[in-house]
């Protein structure tokens, strides 16, 4: 499968934080959920992909071209957390500007999305609500027919209805199997609905990068009491967490676990469980 984005051994050092050999691939026609707690390195990775941060080691390829040597931005749509056009501008102004920035800016599509999302054309960004502003950022990222969307927290601040509308647009976007999305979000339920791949980063390191199917079919969460927990071999689970009344165990191969310990039900893994157990859990 052809990759639209390749990140290989990305390293970037700051005084108090470092990205350590971050690697993952995003194939064509796929959506990758990029998860991790605040400060884990998601935004820094995205900034490196977009050449916002310089002086990093490793290689980043978009459309098979090294981003350090080629400007590949014309086919990328971007939504960044709290970074956008100055707030004295209106959606109408943005259309005027972007029509000169992108050769393939689609004015009709832009105004169609504005209409679909009920966004005012002549109001300044300053006067829009947080949710409306976010929608405008998404619409702006989509209106030049990009092949790759890079979205940092695109659904934060949106109500459930708007989130569902946006997710539908993302689904439509990858329908022709030529376009892909890298989507960083704290709202893990959104990712469970649309992501094909999950890349989980913590403390500057990629802990896992797998297909959602792999994660959901193989991984699971076992809940048991203290006595049962004591009988379980520590090599058969990745992490455990002690709750008020029970133990929660993250297992990498739930079928094997079921057979070995004769357990009937193992809870389906959610991304929230995965994050909490990996970050907070013990071994």
């Amino acid at each position: 499968m052809e990759n639209i984005l390749e990140v290989n051994n990305l390293c970037k050092r700051y005084r108090d934080f470092a990205l350590k050999n971050v690697s993952f691939n995003l194939p064509k026609g796929m959506i990758m959920g990029f998860i991790g707690k605040n400060g884990a390195g998601k935004t820094t990775t995205i900034k490196a992909i977009l050449s916002i941060v310089n002086n990093y080691d490793g290689e980043i390829k978009i459309f098979n071209q090294d981003v350090k040597k080629n400007d590949v931005k014309k086919d990328i749509g971007v939504v960044l957390d709290d970074m956008f056009f100055p707030e004295v501008l209106t959606p109408k102004d943005i259309n005027k500007i972007m029509s000169s920035v992108y050769d393939n800016w689609d004015e009709v599509l832009f105004f169609k999305y504005l209409n679909d999302f009920e966004l005012p054309i002549n109001k300044t960004i300053k006067s829009l609500s947080k949710g409306m502003r976010k929608k405008l950022e998404i619409v702006t990222a989509l209106a030049h027919h990009p092949k790759l969307l890079i979205l940092d927290e695109p659904t934060s601040g949106l109500d459930p209805i708007a989130r569902s509308e946006v997710i539908d647009i993302f689904r439509d976007f990858i329908q022709d199997e030529e376009c892909s999305i890298l989507l960083s979000s704290h709202i893990t339920t959104d990712l469970e609905h649309i992501a094909d791949y999950i890349t989980f980063i913590d403390n500057g390191e990629v802990l896992l990068s797998k297909t959602c199917d792999e994660l959901m079919n193989l991984y699971g969460v076992v809940k048991c009491g203290r006595d049962e927990f004591k009988k379980i071999d520590s090599s058969d689970y990745l992490k455990y967490r002690k709750n008020k009344y029970e133990f929660e165990l993250l297992v990498e191969d739930k079928n094997m676990f079921k057979k070995k310990y004769n357990i009937d039900t193992i809870d389906k893994l959610t991304l929230e469980d995965l994050m909490v157990l990996v970050i907070k859990g013990g071994k």
Partner: protein, 208 residues
């Protein structure tokens, strides 16, 4: 790049209302011989461009711009060009108003008008030449403080130098500039280009 210039001009247009009132008052004062409008208009244009830096900084436009095609190249270039465009436009307006005032007073002096134009453009561009590298290096908030510190230091140095330089020498320099004002633009263009290179260097080196 045209898109980035459009962005600044649209921001200025949206902010223009606040300056319209001031403009009308000063036009009125100029026609009544109460003050010279020529410098003020250029000054307003610089204020308008500086306000675009404020909004850019507040909404992190200089970071978002990098995600657009040729964004990194165009952020600095477009800012210099927008300022030039605006300074020339407002200076032309001020020349027109000066001309009308002279016409009404029946004292038209074409060389005087040209001197007003060159002096306006030059003085504002000098501000641009010195301020913009600071802004691109430090950001508009910190740059304001540093510009103030540098101006203070310059005033101090000039104050000290004035003890050693005669008034005749200074008058001579000023007379030379007034008489040979046509050599000022090439010097300014070179300074502007050097300032642009510095700003570009600082911006490209910046870590966001």
């Amino acid at each position: 790049m045209i898109g980035f210039i459009k962005k600044d001009l649209l921001m200025i247009k949206n902010n223009l209302k606040a300056f319209t009132f001031v403009f009308i008052i000063y036009v009125f004062m100029a026609f009544n011989g109460m003050m010279d409008i020529s410098f003020l208009l250029s000054f307003i244009s610089v204020m308008l461009v500086l306000s675009t830096f404020n909004y850019d900084n507040y909404n992190k436009w200089e970071v978002y711009a990098i995600t657009l095609p040729d964004g990194k190249k165009n952020v600095v270039k477009s800012k210099y060009l927008t300022t030039l465009l605006l300074v020339v436009m407002t200076s032309l307006i001020s020349v027109l108003i000066t001309f009308l005032v002279m016409l009404i007073n029946k004292q038209v002096n074409y060389e005087g008008i040209l001197q007003v134009f060159v002096a306006n453009v030059t003085s504002i561009i000098i501000i641009e030449v010195f301020m913009y590298p600071f802004i691109f290096k430090l950001g508009i908030e910190k740059a304001r403080i540093w510009i103030f510190v540098v101006l203070l230091a310059l005033a101090l140095i000039l104050g000290i130098l004035s003890n050693f330089i005669s008034l005749e020498f200074l008058t001579g320099v000023l007379n030379f500039i007034v008489n040979y004002y046509f050599i000022v633009p090439p010097i300014i263009i070179i300074m502007l280009y050097l300032s642009y290179l510095m700003s570009k260097y600082f911006y490209l080196k910046k870590e966001f």
